[in-house]
Symmetry: C2
Subunit: 107 residues, 2 copies
């Protein structure tokens, strides 16, 4: 039983937020300041996006002195993977059923 992918889809729907998550996946742990550079938005905006990503379980934070390091938590993508393969599975099942039907009609 996979948990609902609802929050995951909503969280990843925003391009800016998804870009931040992609950077964390590609480049590993980053501070808020580092993520703000070339994000195209202000530091508070980045903080809010990181908050949303954290609530969705997509990132972890680690405090060190006055800076906060964020890192991706890729296991959180599993419900998404489950959902897509489930959808593909339903499709395949109906294809198999159609195949069966055609075979029986063929006899």
């Amino acid at each position: 039983m996979s948990t609902t992918p609802d929050l995951l889809f909503r969280t990843l729907a925003d391009p800016t937020r998804r870009a931040i998550f992609e950077r964390l996946c590609r480049e590993g742990e980053q501070t808020v300041g580092a993520l703000t550079v070339r994000s195209g938005v202000s530091q508070p905006a980045v903080s809010k996006h990181l908050g949303a990503l954290k609530q969705a379980g997509l990132v972890r934070d680690r405090h060190e002195g006055r800076q906060t390091h964020y890192s991706a938590q890729p296991g959180a993508l599993n419900p998404l993977i489950d959902w897509t393969s489930q959808m593909a599975g339903f499709w395949q099942n109906r294809l198999d059923a159609l195949d069966d039907l055609l075979k029986r009609m063929d006899q």
Copy 2:
């Protein structure tokens, strides 16, 4: 090169719309009227969602008399699958690099 999953994420982010797509995947082709029943929203709302799904390539429509039949187009999920495995891949690469580093330090 996978096409951008942006439109896909945005389209699937809405629960009502995603529920319609799920029904089409599970139960196969449906008319707008059939989809409206138990969708929890009005017929125009369903039509708008189907329009969005169609624009994202997630469904196809087929006109027959005065009714329109919609069916899921699961191949359209491929960019999503590509994106998730790419993210998982970046993660794995960085893990491998760390592993290498630890091995070299161990010598």
